[in-house]
């Protein structure tokens, strides 16, 4: 008898105790599981299988969250540094501006104007110039109309050349001769054979034409492929843009075509002679730009293009902390344009006030709920939850009715004689209105975590404290309150983080002094369309919340936060 009960250590064979003992005897080689494999391996295999099963179970949710939540957020936040539009719309200009000193207050070289002519012409055909104009307008007032005007006027330059070539030979204004001059014969044959169904054969340049007429070949190829893909037209039937004529003039001036013997050689040689002739009218790009708009001769626009030419920019982030990018480096904005620092401070400050008011109002209610009999507590709980089932807009508008100068509260106060009729209190469209309405709206988020923590505090502790002679206050403050702190912590985090990003209530009752940073973010998303700036402001807000969360974890400890049980 005594063998089996009093001395379990004597039992041999695979029991947990024996396994542990075996583990302690390090010198005995690897511990073996019951089936003879090393214990470590068999354990990790079992665990891995378990982990994989768990992962497989949450995989749908994980993928859903990643795809539909995390990825779009990062995509949006990424816009805060993205700036491809300048380099993509004005590729040649950006290259030509590489050695331009933006701090010099001088105009760039003539080559820059030439590059800008090609870029803006092509952008205008693609209808991208106005988009760039609105982008640069965020940085430089007037860019929007400057680019729109330039898109309209830029044709004039090429028309000068087009007219002269056309006067020389009608063929210079025809589609077919141009295509034969520039296009690969195989491509022309394929394009001719194309019956209008399916994809057009992609335009190819003729061998050697790029060496002979580099600019012309480049612009014609852009033209031809644009016609094919965007317009769905055959380049064999469309006369080229006037920018191609300008390019031809420049090529003929720079190069020598006398040795050329390919298709349309006579046409080209005649044109070369025309260009060399003294009466040939030319356009200076800089003067042409001045004619389109005098602002092109203002170095500021070139400085802006140069400053914002890199693919990624810190400009949006600088804007969102009331600074701006200048050729000399980041600088503070004018005093009368600084707003975001103020709004960030206000958002944080008011969110704290709202959180604190929620604690003050919510604590007694949660205490009451957790100490009342179940029946009454449930009834009260419904009252706490009721606002959740009412539209946010309705609740906010109700506060308008209550708080406005001709509203319920003021009417009652006037009727009671507590305020004069002409001295009605201003309680809305300011910070007070925002705090009142948001405290009301966010109160359930404070009460619920508090309640769930308080309902787990055993009443016997309080009774024990009292039986040991503590006063009511000491009982509460030394025994009850410390145990309810995790609930306050959870509620505060919820309310604070919710209120920091709140938008609709400040918009309606905030007036001018009660609006938050999120109202400006919304404005930039939906009205000014400056999504980059909105993304930068949003990123900063996100980082601020994370930092506060980290600080909270360091000071209070996140383990002390409980949402329930």
């Amino acid at each position: 008898m005594s063998d089996a009960t009093a001395e379990p250590d004597k039992i041999s064979g695979p029991t947990p105790d024996n396994a542990l003992r075996a583990g302690d005897r390090a010198d005995d080689g690897p511990v073996l599981a019951a089936d003879g494999t090393p214990l470590k391996r068999s354990l990790s295999r079992a665990l891995r299988a378990q982990k994989l099963r768990a992962l497989a179970l949450i995989a749908p949710l994980l993928i859903f969250v990643l795809v539909s939540f995390i990825a779009p957020i990062f995509d949006m936040l990424f816009r805060s540094v993205e700036n491809q539009i300048v380099g993509e719309t004005l590729p040649r200009t950006v290259v030509a501006l590489a050695d331009y000193d933006a701090t010099s207050d001088e105009l760039p070289r003539d080559e820059v104007f030439e590059a800008a002519y090609y870029d803006i012409f092509i952008a205008a055909e693609r209808k991208e110039h106005t988009r760039l104009g609105s982008r640069l307008n965020y940085e430089q007032t007037g860019s929007s109309s400057l680019f729109r005007k330039s898109g309209r006027g830029i044709d004039d330059i090429g028309e000068v050349y087009q007219d002269q070539f056309e006067d020389l030979d009608e063929n210079w204004d025809e589609a077919r001769p141009w295509a034969e001059l520039m296009g690969d014969p195989d491509w022309i044959a394929a394009q001719d054979a194309w019956g209008g169904e399916g994809r057009m054969p992609r335009f190819e340049l003729r061998d050697g034409i790029s060496d002979l007429l580099p600019r012309t070949a480049e612009t014609y190829q852009i033209f031809a492929r644009f016609m094919q893909t965007e317009e769905g037209e055959s380049p064999l039937e469309e006369e080229p843009w006037t920018v191609v004529h300008t390019a031809l003039y420049q090529d003929l001036l720079a190069g020598d075509v006398s040795g050329y013997t390919g298709p349309r050689a006579d046409m080209l040689v005649a044109a070369d002679a025309l260009v060399e002739s003294p009466g040939f009218e030319t356009v200076v790009f800089r003067d042409a730009f001045e004619e389109i708009d005098e602002d092109w001769l203002n170095p500021e626009i070139w400085q802006t293009i140069k400053t914002y030419s890199p693919t990624y920019t810190s400009g949006y982030f600088l804007n969102s902390i009331d600074m701006q990018k200048t050729p000399e480096g980041p600088a503070l904005r004018d005093e009368d344009e600084r707003i975001y620092g103020l709004l960030f401070q206000r958002t944080l400050w008011m969110s704290m006030i709202i959180t604190f008011s929620c604690i003050l109002l919510g604590y007694p209610i949660a205490y009451l709920l957790s100490n009342l009999p179940m029946r009454t507590a449930n009834l009260l709980m419904i009252l706490v939850l009721l606002p959740f089932w009412t539209s946010l807009l309705v609740r906010t508008s109700a506060w308008k009715v209550m708080l406005q100068q001709q509203g319920v509260i003021n009417d009652v106060l006037v009727w009671l004689g507590m305020v004069a009729d002409d001295g009605r209190l201003v309680m809305i469209n300011n910070q007070f209105g925002t705090i009142v309405a948001m405290t009301h709206i966010l109160l359930p988020f404070m009460i619920l975590p508090m309640y769930s923590v308080m309902s787990t505090i055993p009443p016997s502790y309080v009774r024990a404290a009292k039986s040991l002679g503590a006063t009511n206050w000491t009982t509460f403050w030394r025994v009850y309150f410390p145990q309810s702190v995790p609930g306050i912590g959870a509620g505060s985090i919820l309310v604070f983080i919710l209120s920091i990003g709140y938008y609709i209530t400040p918009e309606i009752v905030g007036g001018t002094s009660g609006i938050f940073i999120s109202n400006r973010i919304a404005y930039h998303i939906s009205s000014s369309l400056n999504w980059g700036l909105a993304a930068a402001l949003g990123t900063i807000l996100l980082v601020v919340v994370l930092v506060l969360y980290w600080a909270y974890d360091r000071i209070v400890g996140i383990d002390n936060v409980k949402l329930g049980g």
Partner: protein
């Protein structure tokens, strides 16, 4: 297996049916129209959407009340590559921006829209109101002031500068929370002539001058964001005078019988109209073009004025404007374009605000926040 087979069979049937239908008509049988909601959308529904659906059996129209965020949403749809809207009602400034961004389709007004009954081409009939190649104008509306008739004593305001006169007209006033129009009014009341307003506003000093003028009433202003705010504030007696769209004031005065008077002095005209999103599939585009041609003809635009006091954008529609559909009152005197109302007016300066909006708005918001 079974399910996927059923699904495939169903979709094959649907495709076949759709194909057969499209072959017969070449037009989609449903449209998603985007508008502003409220009385304005109702006027569109009554004046031309309902009649169009009646004429075209089997066609349905869905409304989406998203015009206020149309530019941002169209941009997002375009990036996602899925345009779900067929026709979008926007203000002219937004139409210009959508056209700039390549999000709206350029249209040939003479080809797309019906000529006037006397044969005048559509582009002549709409005239200068075609402010963008993408924009199909519908109405002229104005942002103007309404005042409480019982709170101004015996001297109802006749000039927009009453807004800045807190001695003669004490009490709060409501203005839109954006610089557009407010800056112009401030300068006009600061003694700048209308021809000079934008030259002045171009300069730093001019902007400061306008803000300084607004500063004199800053403590008395309730700033609104939604067009419905001012009529509500006036009805509650919260403000003595406030700006909003003239149609909102009309409905407060005539339909809801509120003690409100109209102040037309220096009303700011603006335009509202349709744009067709770029990149619609052919069958949907064909349907929308068919609808727009009908919805913007001379009679339909005149009909719209039966339901709301906005002026039809066609010159040929003006003589056809009749009485209100329910109240039976003559609508012409309530139109912002009526000669009696249009003594001092200016048109929303699209080009100026496209350039200066970002800059002046930053200043304006910083000024508001101080």
């Amino acid at each position: 297996m079974k399910l996927s087979k059923t699904l495939m069979a169903t979709s094959a049937l649907t495709v076949a049916a759709a194909g057969a239908y499209a072959a017969g008509h070449g037009m989609a049988d449903s449209m998603t129209l985007v508008s502003w909601g409220g009385a304005y959308q109702a006027s569109q529904q009554n004046a031309y959407v309902a009649p169009y659906l009646e004429m075209n059996d089997g066609v349905s129209a869905t409304w989406d009340e998203s015009s206020a965020e149309a530019v941002a949403k169209l941009r997002a749809m375009n990036e996602a590559g899925n345009i779900t809207w067929d026709l979008v009602d926007v203000v002219a400034a937004d139409a210009i921006r959508l056209c700039d961004e390549g999000l709206a389709m350029e249209v040939d007004h003479d080809e797309l829209l019906a000529p006037a009954p006397d044969g005048t081409s559509a582009s002549d009939d709409f005239g200068d109101l075609i402010v963008s190649d993408c924009f199909i104008p519908q109405i002229v509306y104005s942002t103007t002031f309404g005042y409480r008739t019982d709170m101004v004593g015996d001297t109802p305001p006749t000039s927009v500068c009453a807004v800045f006169d807190t001695e003669a007209y004490p009490g709060k006033r409501s203005l839109e929370r954006r610089p557009i129009a407010n800056m112009e009014w401030a300068l006009i009341c600061d003694g700048v002539s209308i021809d000079e307003v934008y030259n002045v506003l171009e300069t730093e000093e001019g902007q400061d001058r306008a803000l300084a003028k607004l500063d004199t009433i800053k403590d008395d202003v309730i700033w609104w964001n939604a067009g419905a705010d001012t009529p509500q504030l006036l009805a509650d007696g919260e403000v003595v005078i406030g700006s909003t769209y003239n149609g909102r004031l009309f409905s407060a005065i005539e339909e809801q019988d509120q003690p409100i008077g109209m102040l037309w002095d220096w009303q700011m005209f603006d335009l509202d109209g349709w744009i067709i999103p770029a990149g619609l599939p052919e069958d949907r585009l064909a349907r929308v073009q068919d609808f727009v041609r009908f919805a913007t003809d001379t009679q339909r635009l005149a009909d719209q004025a039966k339901y709301i006091s906005y002026g039809p954008a066609r010159a040929s529609s003006a003589p056809l404007v009749s009485t209100h559909a329910e109240l039976g009152i003559e609508m012409a005197p309530h139109m912002p374009t009526d000669p009696a109302n249009a003594q001092n007016t200016f048109l929303f300066n699209y080009e100026f605000w496209a350039d200066y909006r970002d800059d002046i708005d930053a200043k304006f918001q910083a000024w508001l926040a101080r």
